[in-house]
């Protein structure tokens, strides 16, 4: 697996898909979006569950960008 990973290609150029990363930055670096208690989830204030949910969303987006740009 390692050798195959080493030999197989890497795309080099810029891809416009990378702009999707900006969504993650804005979503978590702008506290006015999420600095509130309501709506709560299982008793957890929005501030906390929103940011935890962002981790999952960001990981999925990164995976999508990887799959699209790796071709």
């Amino acid at each position: 697996m390692d050798d195959a990973e080493g030999r197989r290609g890497v795309r080099s150029a810029w891809s416009w898909w990378y702009l999707l990363f900006l969504v993650q930055f804005v979503a978590v670096l702008w506290p006015p979006f999420y600095n509130k208690v309501e709506p709560t989830l299982l008793g957890m204030p929005f501030f906390y569950w929103y940011q935890l949910a962002c981790i999952v969303v960001a990981a999925v987006m990164t995976a999508i960008i990887y799959v699209i740009t790796e071709k």
Partner: protein
């Protein structure tokens, strides 16, 4: 020692014994000639996606993190959650920049950031500045890992006076030093697998079992003081706590991957593709860290600070004792042993990688550059092994004889210092436009200003910047990085205009940055 928790201690010792064996056995894993620096210090760049995931995860999410982030939530509330946006924004950076760096370093046999800067800019003094910054920022970080270890050893009930009290820590460190010396980066890589599995089990148990015991999240958050539940809303003409929160997250993310131990773990990947895949997979650790930050609130909800059996622990370790106290309070003894072993072993993995990274830097960019210009590969690797021992001994002496708070202060300053290497390393991965002397001056200005600003604020991370009528409190590292970049860019323009600073030879070409 009347208070020793023997069941927990036995589990802890058995798990420690296992990883000790594993650390030495790792020398034979994906066997290479450990007399070569890239084999000892980068494990021959042979780690695929999965091992890189364990290694980088075990490296970036340290024992200290798992103690300190919940402790901050316990003491200061919502602001501790900056660790979540921090570990979200770091991964686009990993995805975009570090495969490029990996490629060029692989192509030219660079092992350290200093190697890359030396090759890219042909300026040994700039490379020296990058190297010294890396070593100086890493040392207190190693010392802090020992704090994590100290806290769980204290939590097991082991106490004493004089050097006997420090004996467990010294033994743990001797083990660490010995397997790092003999197996190099393969040791922390194999141990990271065990450590990460233990940490995941502990974190899951904590976030599922403890809220059930405490009657649900609603009750737990009801116990959090109102002013700590959310960030304070900024007043007029101020970005207030919002700006501080966002710049702390962004600045920490920009600094994190520049640390020598991060680069060492990333460079040991087998391909740029393995690194990009990890940008999507490593958030698994971020989720765990976020959940563990909540554990700080669980400790508030459980009221551990008021329980008499933990009074001595809080007195000795402060809020850092919140998580161990909660685990002792909530888990059966045998599981306390598992959880504490996870944190204790979690200290050894990054400490090993940090000492290897510092040793690589010293060997490649100070010794071979300024002292002995033509060592044999064997001499080079042998020297790095010795330096890794010296680095660890230094960290141990520091933590035994200097109050812990100084290690924490130095680590905070370390973040401000290491971010000053971003222009040379990250921008250097894209363009050679910035002049090397301009970069050196930018680095010096940023380092000096950052240190002075931090000291003027009693080493608090946020600096209350004033612009006109506006007050913009923000992370000192972030502000001084901007200053550094402005100085470097302006000076580059001036030097180009004077055509004075003739750029030295760049031994890399554009094609080196792609596969």
């Amino acid at each position: 020692m009347p208070n020793v928790n023997w069941v927990a201690l036995s589990v802890f010792v058995v798990l420690f014994g296992f990883i000790t064996w594993l650390g030495f056995a790792a020398a034979h894993w994906r066997k290479g000639d450990l007399g070569q620096l890239h084999e000892w210090g980068l494990a021959g760049r042979r780690f695929g996606t999965l091992i890189t995931w364990f290694l980088v995860g075990g490296d970036l999410y340290t024992a200290y993190t798992f103690i300190a982030v919940p402790a901050l939530a316990f003491g200061a509330g919502a602001v501790a959650f900056f660790a979540v946006p921090y570990t979200i924004v770091v991964y686009p950076l990993l995805f975009l920049v570090f495969p490029r760096l990996w490629q060029v370093c692989h192509k030219h046999g660079y092992i350290t950031a200093g190697d890359f800067v030396r090759g890219r800019y042909g300026n040994r003094w700039l490379a020296l500045a990058i190297t010294v910054t890396g070593i100086v920022a890493t040392m207190p970080y190693i010392a802090l890992q020992l704090v994590g270890l100290q806290v769980v050893i204290g939590g097991l009930g082991i106490s004493g006076s004089g050097w006997v009290a420090d004996l467990p820590l010294i033994v743990a460190f001797l083990i660490l030093a010995a397997f790092t010396y003999s197996s190099g980066l393969r040791a922390p890589a194999s141990i990271a697998i065990v450590k990460d599995i233990l940490i995941y089990i502990t974190a899951l148990a904590a976030v599922i079992a403890i809220p059930v015991q405490l009657g649900g999240f609603g009750r737990i958050f009801a116990a959090v003081p109102h002013d700590k539940l959310l960030l304070a809303v900024p007043g007029q003409n101020s970005t207030g706590a919002y700006g501080a929160y966002a710049t702390l997250a962004l600045g920490s993310a920009l600094a994190l991957l520049l640390y020598p131990h991060s680069l060492t773990a990333i460079f040991s990947a087998s391909s740029g593709r393995a690194i990009r895949r990890n940008a999507a997979l490593l958030p698994g650790y971020s989720l765990m860290l976020g959940l563990l930050a909540l554990v700080g609130f669980f400790a508030l909800g459980a009221g551990v600070a008021g329980l008499p059996e933990f009074a001595a622990g809080f007195k000795q370790f402060g809020n850092n004792f919140a998580v161990p106290a909660l685990f002792l309070h909530s888990f059966p003894d045998w599981f306390v042993g598992v959880a504490f072993a996870a944190i204790g072993i979690g200290a050894l993995v990054p400490a090993a990688i940090m000492s290897i990274a510092a040793a690589n830097l010293y060997t490649r960019n100070i010794h071979c550059e300024f002292i002995n210009r033509n060592p044999t590969p064997r001499q080079e690797a042998q020297l790095a092994k010795w330096v890794s021992l010296i680095v660890k001994a230094g960290a141990l002496v520091f933590i035994l004889f200097v109050p812990t708070k100084y290690a924490i202060y130095l680590q905070l300053l370390g973040g401000i210092w290491i971010i000053q290497t971003l222009p040379a390393i990250v921008i250097g991965a894209y363009t050679r436009w910035l002049n090397d002397w301009a970069l050196l001056v930018g680095w010096a200005v940023g380092t000096y200003a950052g240190t002075a600003m931090a000291i003027s604020q009693d080493l608090k991370p946020a600096y209350p910047l004033k612009l006109g009528d506006w007050s913009l409190p923000g992370y000192t590292a972030f502000y001084t990085l901007i200053l550094n970049l402005i100085v470097a860019a302006v000076l580059t323009l001036v030097l180009n205009w004077l055509s004075a600073g003739k750029p030295a030879a760049d031994e890399t070409v554009a094609a080196d940055y792609h596969a």
